[in-house]
């Protein structure tokens, strides 16, 4: 009944805090009675697949929990931005991101002996709110436009739920466009600098991480293409993503040290406008992206590592079973 426990835990995550334990206990007892009755009918224990099918029929943990919430908070400005199903998860992720971002900013402020003020905290704070809210607004829009159960399976149940093809396909399209852009930028600097390409060029440090980033992007595309063809390879997504996010995270320090990223090309050397533009571009890359991007890689790596655990457990169990059979 390990799957049942994982399912109830997933429901619990979205339940009102005060009643969480009590509701989960009751839900577990009711589901267990139902499963036992099914087992009695069959005259044997349910297989893992049957247990999963039973839970799948019971419904998405997020929606099950929503039934118990009477407050149903949401983000609404005349039109619904984040619906009541996603809102508890939105608050949870936003809280986690803000805690990590502000906590680490405080550590940096301390380490670099910067003057104590609110200023260094404002940008990470606003960026986290903007990015997390935007992500959830898009997820909410997808939920409403293409309703389907089990959008966000709990980690323990994810090995049993094939990866939705629309999920792989949409990622494939978006990341292919971005990868093409990234691959083309060194050859067509106008894609990054527009009309200022005549006076600007990418600094030497850019070329050190250009290829590794390209390889990571290609790995992500390959994973999505493979899952589009084979949605049942549920291990591939967390496995590849944990590696991508881990490597991307490790690359952040050398990337940040690569500042400046944009320089004035020899043809425009000494031109004050291009000097200013080169500095502005480098600062945008550093403060607009690299200063916070690592938080997403860190959180991504942790989440995907968590999703790898049930696959590793299953693999170990299969291996043990295989050894036992051989003996």
């Amino acid at each position: 009944m390990q799957l049942l426990d994982s399912y109830v835990k997933a429901v619990k995550l979205y339940l009102p805090r005060k009643q969480r334990e009590d509701i989960a206990r009751e839900l577990s007892a009711n589901l267990l009675s139902q499963m036992e009755e099914r087992q009695e009918e069959l005259g044997r224990a349910l297989t893992e697949e049957e247990e999963m099918e039973f839970l799948r029929q019971h419904g998405d943990p997020m929606l099950v929990a929503r039934g118990y919430r009477q407050d149903r908070p949401s983000l609404n400005i005349g039109i619904e931005l984040i619906g009541p199903e996603l809102f508890p998860m939105y608050l949870m992720i936003l809280g986690m991101n803000l805690t990590i971002a502000l906590g680490l900013t405080a550590v940096f402020v301390y380490l670099f002996k910067a003057p104590v003020s609110l200023q260094p905290f404002i940008l990470p704070f606003l960026i986290q709110i903007f990015c997390v809210t935007l992500t959830f607004v898009i997820l909410n829009w997808i939920r409403r436009k293409y309703p389907q159960p089990w959008y966000y399976p709990p980690a323990a149940l994810s090995p049993h739920l094939p990866i939705a093809r629309w999920h792989s396909l949409s990622g494939l399209v978006v990341w292919s466009i971005f990868t093409l852009w990234w691959a083309a930028v060194p050859y067509f600097p106008g894609l990054l600098f527009g009309t200022w390409a005549q006076g600007l060029e990418l600094a030497a440090s850019w070329h050190h991480f250009y290829l590794p980033v390209l390889l990571l992007l290609l790995a992500g595309i390959a994973q999505r293409a493979a899952n589009l063809a084979r949605p049942e390879w549920t291990w591939l997504l967390p496995g590849v993503r944990v590696i991508i996010n881990g490597i991307a995270l490790a690359m952040q320090v050398p990337m940040i040290h690569g500042f400046p990223f944009v320089v004035v090309n020899p043809a425009a050397a000494g031109h004050p406008l291009f000097e200013q533009l080169a500095e502005a571009y480098s600062n945008i890359i550093l403060w607009g992206f690299l200063s916070w991007l690592w938080i997403y890689f860190l959180i991504g790596a942790l989440i995907y590592a968590r999703f790898c655990v049930p696959h590793v457990r299953r693999w170990l169990a299969l291996r043990q079973h295989g050894t036992a059979m051989a003996l």
Binding site: L27, N30, S33, G59, G67, Y68
Partner: protein, 121 residues
């Protein structure tokens, strides 16, 4: 195809609305004798009143928070289960609701008996 699917959706919404009130009545009536969530759902289904778990279990909690039901955790077949039964306040409300239900039923019967008048002109 569009109008038909929207008509189905409309019917489904109206059906749910119609059922909502009757489900509460059915649950209160069924809990005149003590039951826990799963057996209650089964007994309702056996009597032709199918109710989704995602609707029933939260409904039981809501009725309890309104003072219409009482509940207690008790061990049965080596497992703890939460048993619900009608509270004294629930009994009163059930009586009133049943009277209302009968009145609505009688009125509807009368209305449905009336010959349909042509509306043209």
């Amino acid at each position: 195809m569009q109008p038909s699917s929207s008509a189905n959706e409309l019917f489904e919404n109206l059906r749910l609305e119609l059922r909502r009130g009757s489900l509460i009545l059915a649950v209160l009536a069924a809990l005149r004798s003590e039951q826990y969530g799963y057996t209650l759902r089964k007994s309702l289904a056996d009597q032709g009143m199918e109710i989704d778990e995602g609707t029933l279990y939260p409904l039981l909690r809501r009725l309890e928070s309104q003072g219409l039901l009482t509940s207690e955790w008790r061990e049965e077949e080596k497992r703890n289960k939460r048993f619900y039964r009608l509270a004294p306040r629930g009994e009163e409300i059930l009586k009133q609701l049943l009277a209302e239900w009968e009145a609505i039923g009688a009125s509807l019967e009368e209305i449905l008996k009336e010959p349909r008048h042509a509306t043209a002109g």
